[in-house]
């Protein structure tokens, strides 16, 4: 078994009386790009700071590169951190920013120079070494922030929403640059964001957090297609999954989901555990792309709202008391108030227990 880049066990963090993280267990493989995703206030930044040693851990343990680091000083953890503001030292040139961590550790001058030039070459910062942070573009600042960690040979890179205060265009550009950089360096990265586009595009695995607990860990496609609970279903995707209340009918051979109007045969559905008994209260989760509007379909619905997005349009419909959304082609002309029918891709639905919201 390979040495884990990072291993957390039962990590608990308190701010005063309130518990912010409730026993988080997590393993990050060497070279992985792990994204911590969640709404604001879910504890993802706290988790990152706990890994870095910047907040006190109430219980549990942190292991970095196989070494116990729970109580270690941030300086001794051999980590690099890229902050939201990049936190480049404004009074120092790029060169001195890169070498700060080496100089304060008392490294010999020749070795410092050699490491700085290696990092500068790797990140194409050679022409910028004499500049100050204020004279750099967003992308250059990001590279310097990463370079600071590289110069120290950090084992794990922690990135705290590094793209969130940039405009949309630059953000997408830097996202691609970051992905290429990770592919080139092969470094272990833990990346915090609340932006699911960043999470989906960058991650080798996504960790979804809510209220201080891990909701699901998995590859982006897996988390998207098979959300572990109602929270993940609603949080991922834009818009998120539509949820339809109903119950299980026709046990054994031919199980069927029966809502107010929507009926979906579940013969092909692979239940996460044993199939619940007939009559169990369920919620059906539907991705917009698995709902199609078809005037001939027997499940009747009425168009409420149309959101054209250029490449396609999102159409919100009401079917009885259920409100759900569907994806339609860009050319299709749907008008609010129009009567139509729904066709549901039975092979791609998700089922959740109505009580605790966990996937069935």
């Amino acid at each position: 078994m390979s040495v884990a880049g990072l291993r957390l066990r039962g990590l608990t963090v308190r701010h005063g009386a309130s518990e912010v993280l409730h026993g988080v267990d997590l393993e990050v493989e060497e070279g992985e790009f792990l994204v911590l995703l969640g709404p604001s206030g879910c504890g993802k930044s706290t988790l990152l700071h706990a890994i870095a040693g910047l907040v006190e851990v109430a219980a549990g343990s942190v292991e970095i590169g196989g070494e116990a680091m729970t109580g270690a000083d941030p300086a001794d953890r051999n980590i690099g951190m890229v902050f939201q503001s990049y936190a480049l030292y404004p009074t120092m040139t790029v060169e001195r920013n890169l070498s700060f961590g080496l100089r304060v550790r008392g490294m010999a001058r020749a070795e410092v120079a050699q490491r700085v030039s290696r990092v500068a070459r790797m990140l194409q910062l050679e022409d910028l070494l004499r500049r100050r942070p204020a004279e750099l573009s967003g992308g250059q600042r990001q590279r310097v922030a990463i370079g600071r960690a590289l110069a120290r040979d950090a084992r794990v890179f922690l990135l705290d929403e590094p793209l969130s205060n940039l405009d949309a265009q630059l953000r997408a550009e830097l996202r691609r640059e970051l992905k290429l950089l990770h592919a080139r360096l092969g470094a272990t990265m833990v990346y915090v964001t609340h932006d699911q586009a960043e999470a989906m595009t960058l991650a080798t695995r996504i960790v979804i957090l809510d209220r201080g607990r891990i909701q699901q860990v998995g590859e982006p496609g897996e988390v998207y297609a098979r959300p572990a609970n109602r929270f993940v279903a609603g949080f991922l995707g834009s818009p998120g999954m539509s949820l339809v209340a109903g119950r299980l009918e026709g046990a054994d051979g031919m199980p069927v989901f029966a809502g107010e109007r929507i009926r979906v045969p579940l013969a092909g559905y692979s239940f996460a555990s044993a199939m619940p008994a007939a009559g169990a209260e369920l919620e059906l989760g539907l991705r917009p792309e698995h709902v199609t509007l078809d005037a001939q379909a027997p499940t009747r619905a009425r168009v409420v709202l149309v959101e054209p997005l250029g490449s396609h349009q999102v159409v919100w419909v009401e079917s009885g008391a259920d409100r759900l959304c569907a994806v339609a082609e860009a050319g299709a002309r749907w008008r609010p108030g129009e009567e139509t029918g729904l066709r549901i891709d039975a092979g791609a639905v998700s089922l959740f227990a109505r009580g605790d919201g966990r996937r069935l």
């Binding site: 941030p74 300086a75 480049l88 030292y89």
Partner: protein, 290 residues
């Protein structure tokens, strides 16, 4: 109301504002004018002429006398010696106070522990206790340390009294800096002093300028502490100025008194003029995000 009427009203308002500023300036500059003019006149002209009239033959004789011949009590050596004393008191009092204030502010804003709130509260209270209350205890303290009436003694007293304000200034300034900078430096391996010297101090140039201005002018203008703690040999310029003006033998030499007063206030004036530029430059280079 028509556009023309409104334009007229605007013009009247602007004219009124200008007139107000003009007369305020005259009001504040008039005493300075009288001092300069008087210091350049010989005594005869002062007695005979008008307070506001320009000198007939301006001369620096009174300035020379104030600097090197005016009587401060028994001795008649001018206030030039007092100038040197004031420099010797103000320079170390400023350097030490600013350095300690920066260090305190840095510790209080970035290295928080559960005592931080207490320390800060006590310092804040210290800023509001009247100075006179502490004079006698400080006299006993410096006497016990063998520093009463010495240069290190008066410097120590100035540093002690400046601590609350210096610490407050730097603490508030460091609080306004992004905390992420400090965290990044911690991860990079910086320790308490390393981060202070390499990161915090270079970033606080504007605050160092402000604190230095405050401290230099405060120490330079101080009279009471210098009188009590400096001792005979180190009396600052302000104390000597008072002695010059209150020496009661003979005629009152208004021109010498004016010149001595102007000489005493030259340093604070120079500090304001020279540091203003640094002040602005420091703020302009302090940008973190572009």
């Amino acid at each position: 109301m028509g556009a023309a009427a409104r334009a007229f009203e605007h013009r009247v308002a602007r004219l009124g504002g200008g007139a107000f500023l003009f007369f305020s300036a005259i009001f504040f500059l008039l005493p300075l004018y009288v001092m300069i003019v008087t210091s350049l006149k010989p005594m005869d002209e002062i007695r005979g002429g008008h307070l506001l009239s320009l000198p007939l033959a301006p001369g620096l004789a009174a300035w020379r006398e104030a600097w090197s011949e005016a009587c401060t009590g028994v001795a008649c050596e001018g206030i030039g010696g007092g100038f040197l004393n004031s420099v010797r008191i103000a320079v170390p009092s400023t350097l030490i106070a600013v350095a300690l204030g920066a260090l305190n502010g840095y510790a209080l804003s970035f290295w928080r522990s559960r005592w931080t709130g207490w320390v800060f509260g006590v310092l804040l209270a210290g800023a509001f206790i009247p100075l006179q209350v502490m004079i006698y205890p400080l006299v006993r303290l410096t006497a016990n340390l063998g520093l009463f009436g010495t240069l290190p003694g008066i410097v120590l007293v100035h540093v002690i009294f400046s601590m609350p304000v210096m610490t407050l200034l730097f603490r508030n300034y460091y609080r306004s800096l992004p905390r992420e900078l400090f965290l990044a430096a911690r991860i990079d391996g910086g320790g308490f002093l390393g981060i202070f010297l390499h990161l915090a101090l270079p970033m606080s140039l504007p605050m160092i300028a402000v604190a230095s201005i405050l401290q230099v002018t405060g120490v330079w203008n101080d009279y009471l502490l210098g009188l009590v703690f400096a001792g005979r040999e180190n009396l600052p310029m302000t104390v000597q100025l008072n002695n010059v003006i209150n020496t009661t033998t003979g005629v009152r030499l208004y021109n010498v008194h004016m010149a001595a007063t102007l000489l005493t206030s030259l340093v604070p004036l120079a500090v304001y003029f020279l540091s203003g530029r640094w002040f602005v430059r420091g703020i302009a280079t302090g940008a973190v995000k572009g």
